[in-house]
């Protein structure tokens, strides 16, 4: 069984995000970038499935600038077998990403696609669902646990009320939630091996996908600072404030 895992290069989760002075977006130059943590979980799950003998080949795909190749190398160092970089310097929105991935899926014909439920930069949480719709494949989002069977997969999902398990026919799309697994450290021998694993390059143009933005960013602002709180004298006063001032009761 062949597995496609999608990885995105995002601002490292430790970096304090700063808005560009002109408000056109966030500062990215000379900022530490890493693999989206949800995608790391996706790669880890893919590697575990391979270690269990359920998967024979893992292809890691990323869409972004040349440096996104480093993110693919990270996936290769964790255990993916080869990579595909869809190179573009343009801003790609979830629908464009889903269309590109659909094209890659058409070419690669994987039995399973795993990706993070969202990327920590824009938190869109759309790509997996859109890809499933474009391909007409079943989807198991917010995966907490996956169990691969014969031609099927059980995905236990994190939902508001607890956990829900869905049985999907393969091929299918799975998006990962935080508690699915704990990603490993890449080992030194695997970092060295990753250097020699194949990494193909293509582009949205070559795949025939128009990535022109459909959304317009009007402005980007930093969240306002937290305001000072007040002490309340009694429960009655608290309830009163929640009703009148906060309007939540």
């Amino acid at each position: 069984m062949k597995l496609l895992v999608c990885v995105k290069r995002v601002v490292d989760f430790n970096v304090k995000i700063r808005v560009k002075p002109d408000g056109s977006g966030v500062e990215l130059a000379n900022i530490k970038m890493s693999m989206n943590p949800f995608d790391e979980i996706a790669v880890e799950e893919a590697v575990r499935l391979k270690e269990q003998g359920k998967v024979t080949e893992i292809v890691a795909v990323s869409i972004g600038p040349q440096q996104a190749g480093e993110t693919i190398r990270t996936a290769l160092a964790m255990g993916a077998d080869r990579g595909i970089l869809v190179k573009t310097d343009a801003t790609v929105e979830p629908l464009a990403v889903a269309k590109i991935l659909a094209k890659v899926v058409e070419q690669e014909k994987p039995d399973l696609v795993i990706m993070g439920k969202q990327a920590i930069d824009d938190d869109a949480n759309q790509t997996g669902q859109m890809l499933a719709a474009l391909l007409g494949w079943p989807q198991g989002t917010f995966a907490f646990k996956v169990a691969v069977g014969e031609g099927s997969i059980d995905v236990t999902r994190e939902v508001d009320g607890g956990l829900q398990t869905v049985g999907l026919k393969l091929p299918a799309i799975v998006t990962t939630d935080l508690r699915l697994n704990e990603p490993r450290y890449a080992s030194l021998p695997n970092i060295m091996k990753a250097k020699k694993k194949p990494l193909d390059e293509t582009s949205p143009e070559t795949l025939g996908i128009d990535v022109s933005p459909r959304l317009k960013v009007i402005k980007t602002v930093e969240p306002g600072g937290r305001k000072a709180g007040v002490k309340v004298g009694s429960v009655a006063e608290l309830v009163q404030k929640l009703k009148v001032e906060a309007g939540v009761l």
Partner: protein, 602 residues
């Protein structure tokens, strides 16, 4: 709770811009190294040390190691898991040859990873660190059988290693060693004696512990010429990393000490334990010394590592601690007080640590690259020059980086005011942990004597003269360079001071060795200042070039870090380098005033 971020940007700047690694492509270890691979390796090393090692530093300090009545030693909670992750990642064998399961990468990378690991958790980092030292000794002196037997499990980290030199009556003076080795007639020896201060002598991290033990074969000459080195495994070893019967070596007790509580410092009792000769009989000290340079370099790195982590926490605190107002009026009128980093004296303190760290890291990388050349170059002249450099700079790095590294942890503690004295703040642990690096692997006074008495005069001063020539050559070549030019005169003066001091020794110490002894520590620090000053200029040169390129490309985001590097160099040149004058004065004061005091009047 203190925190730690590996100085990845600084390290990558050093290996990409200051000492570009493509200049070393002719060495095997660098054959596959590209900036991308170096980045990937060191990024992952940063991650594992930050995430797996650092969180256990304070808890490991509080728990310490515990020995039970049967002589087993338990390391602090979490150490086994963190060590396991390090082993699983293949980091122990980073720089050992692939023949024994290593990755064959440059020693320089291992030195950098050692800095990260020691900053994150020095006590834990010592377990794999000592193993690497023992691996080096077996690689150089072991027979083919010994290498096949011990190296694969040691390189993987499944087994660890130790060095056993010290005995109760014998520290610096190894000629006093009493541990004896009796020939058993089957090629093995029965080792009997007591060794003390054995780091990682007994613990629960690995399946077997391979002790390298200095002992005297029966009938051997007295003094250091009668010492031989033996491999004494805790469990007898069989091929394939299989361990057999328990050997007659045990941990008699563990020391209760000032710092590095997470590392077991053991009294090791050898009661007729079976040992195998490593190298030749009576050439044990020689075998030890071939690996001493790298081991001492490793301890110097610990000094830098503690200085770095202490600095990071002090800088964060200085930016956050609101207290008083800037001398020039409120800097942040909206807040109740200004952060203490507005104060010139706080900045002076922090910059003195920062400038040292930057230059010391460069000195470590530069010298580690020489170690790689010394290990692998096929051109004899190149190899010899690297060996000379390594011999000369090793006592300087060990002595100066650990002396100043310790001072810096105290300075960092000072930034916290009274809170720095409180255990929970975490900075006092850095002070305690850093202290040992000045003492072990040759106390710093011994490093100074090694430098002045052995390393300077060796081969008619060849290594020293080559160093002087390199620094003055750099100053000539870059006299007009933007980043270097402002400091050429000051650096020349400092180099003159070092040359004057060296000449003074030649004229005044050959017949009167006390003159060398009395001036040796000042000389070592004088040497350190010149070496660190030279490194600061190398950094400034590369930073100025990058800054010019960034400005030409209108890349505002790249200018900040480069400007900061130039400011750091400026601080070193203006406020640290001038100390060479004082050091020279002390050297030339000679021994008379020191030796004049009768011992009973002390």
């Amino acid at each position: 709770m203190p925190s730690y971020k590996a100085p990845l940007d600084d390290v990558l700047f050093l290996i990409n811009d200051v000492f570009p690694l493509d200049g070393y492509n002719h060495l095997d270890a660098f054959a596959e190294v590209t900036p991308e691979l170096a980045g990937a390796v060191l990024t992952e090393a940063a991650r594992i040390t930050e995430e797996a090692f650092a969180p256990l530093n304070a808890t490991g300090d509080r728990q310490g190691c515990r020995r039970d009545s049967a002589g087993s030693v338990r390391t602090p909670e979490g150490f086994a898991e963190a060590y396991g992750a390090f082993v699983k990642g293949g980091w122990v064998g980073l720089a050992t040859p692939p023949d024994y399961g290593g990755q064959g990468l440059p020693y320089t990378f291992a030195a950098i990873v050692n800095e990260f690991a020691s900053s994150a958790n020095m006590a834990l980092a010592m377990y794999p660190g000592l193993t690497q030292g023992a691996i080096a000794a077996i690689l150089l002196h072991g027979t083919a059988e010994q290498k096949a037997l011990y190296l694969p499990p040691m390189v993987s980290g499944a087994w660890t290693g130790t060095m056993n030199l010290t005995e109760p009556q014998c520290g610096t003076d190894l000629g006093l060693i009493r541990t004896k080795a009796e020939r058993k007639g089957d090629g093995t020896y029965a080792i009997t004696g007591t060794k003390i201060f054995i780091s990682a002598g007994e613990h629960d991290l690995a399946g077997n512990i391979v002790h390298l033990v200095l002992a005297r074969v029966e009938g051997a000459p007295s003094g250091t010429k009668g010492l031989s080195l033996f491999i004494v495994p805790k469990f007898m070893a069989a091929n394939g990393g299989v361990r057999g019967a328990r050997n007659r070596v045990s941990c008699g007790s563990i020391e209760d000490k000032m710092g590095i509580h997470g590392n077991a410092t053991c009294v090791m009792n050898y009661e007729g334990a079976t040992g195998w000769l490593l190298g030749e009989e009576n050439r044990g000290l020689n075998a030890m010394f071939t690996m001493m340079n790298e081991a001492r370099l490793g301890v110097g790195i610990q000094g830098l590592a503690l200085s770095e982590v202490a600095y990071q926490n002090a800088a964060t605190y200085a930016r956050e601690r609101l207290q008083g107002r800037a001398l020039t009026g409120a800097a942040f009128p909206a807040q109740a007080a200004d952060p203490i980093i507005v104060h010139p004296d706080v900045r002076r303190t922090l910059l003195s640590i920062k400038a040292f760290n930057a230059a010391a890291r460069a000195l470590v990388v530069w010298t580690s690259l020489k170690a790689d050349v010394a290990r692998q170059a096929t051109d004899e002249a190149e190899r010899q020059a690297a060996e000379d450099h390594l011999g000369l700079l090793t006592p300087v790095i060990k002595g100066v980086l650990t002396d100043i590294g310790f001072d810096n942890t105290v300075k960092a503690q000072q930034m916290f005011g009274g809170h720095g004295y409180i255990v929970e703040t975490g900075v006092e642990q850095f002070v305690r942990d850093a202290r040992i690096a000045m003492l072990y692997e040759g106390a710093n006074g011994i490093q100074a004597i090694d430098l002045v008495g052995r390393k300077l005069p060796r081969d008619a001063g060849r290594a020293m003269l080559a160093f002087f020539a390199e620094v003055s050559g750099f100053l000539k070549e870059n006299a007009a360079h933007d980043g270097v030019q402002p400091y050429v005169a000051g650096m020349k003066t400092a180099l003159d001071h070092l040359q004057d001091a060296s000449m003074w020794f030649m004229r005044n110490a050959l017949g009167k060795p006390d003159n060398a002894g009395a001036g040796s520590t000042d000389y070592m620090h004088l040497f350190g200042l010149v070496a660190l000053g030279y490194m600061s200029l190398r950094i400034a040169k590369a930073a100025a070039d990058k800054l010019a390129a960034a400005r030409a490309a209108n890349d505002d985001s790249a200018t900040g870090p480069m400007e900061a590097r130039l400011t750091t160099t400026r601080f070193f040149m203006e406020r640290m380098l001038p100390e060479t004058a004082v050091r020279l004065n002390r050297v030339t004061a000679g021994a008379e005033g020191i030796m004049a005091m009768p011992a009973e009047m002390f």
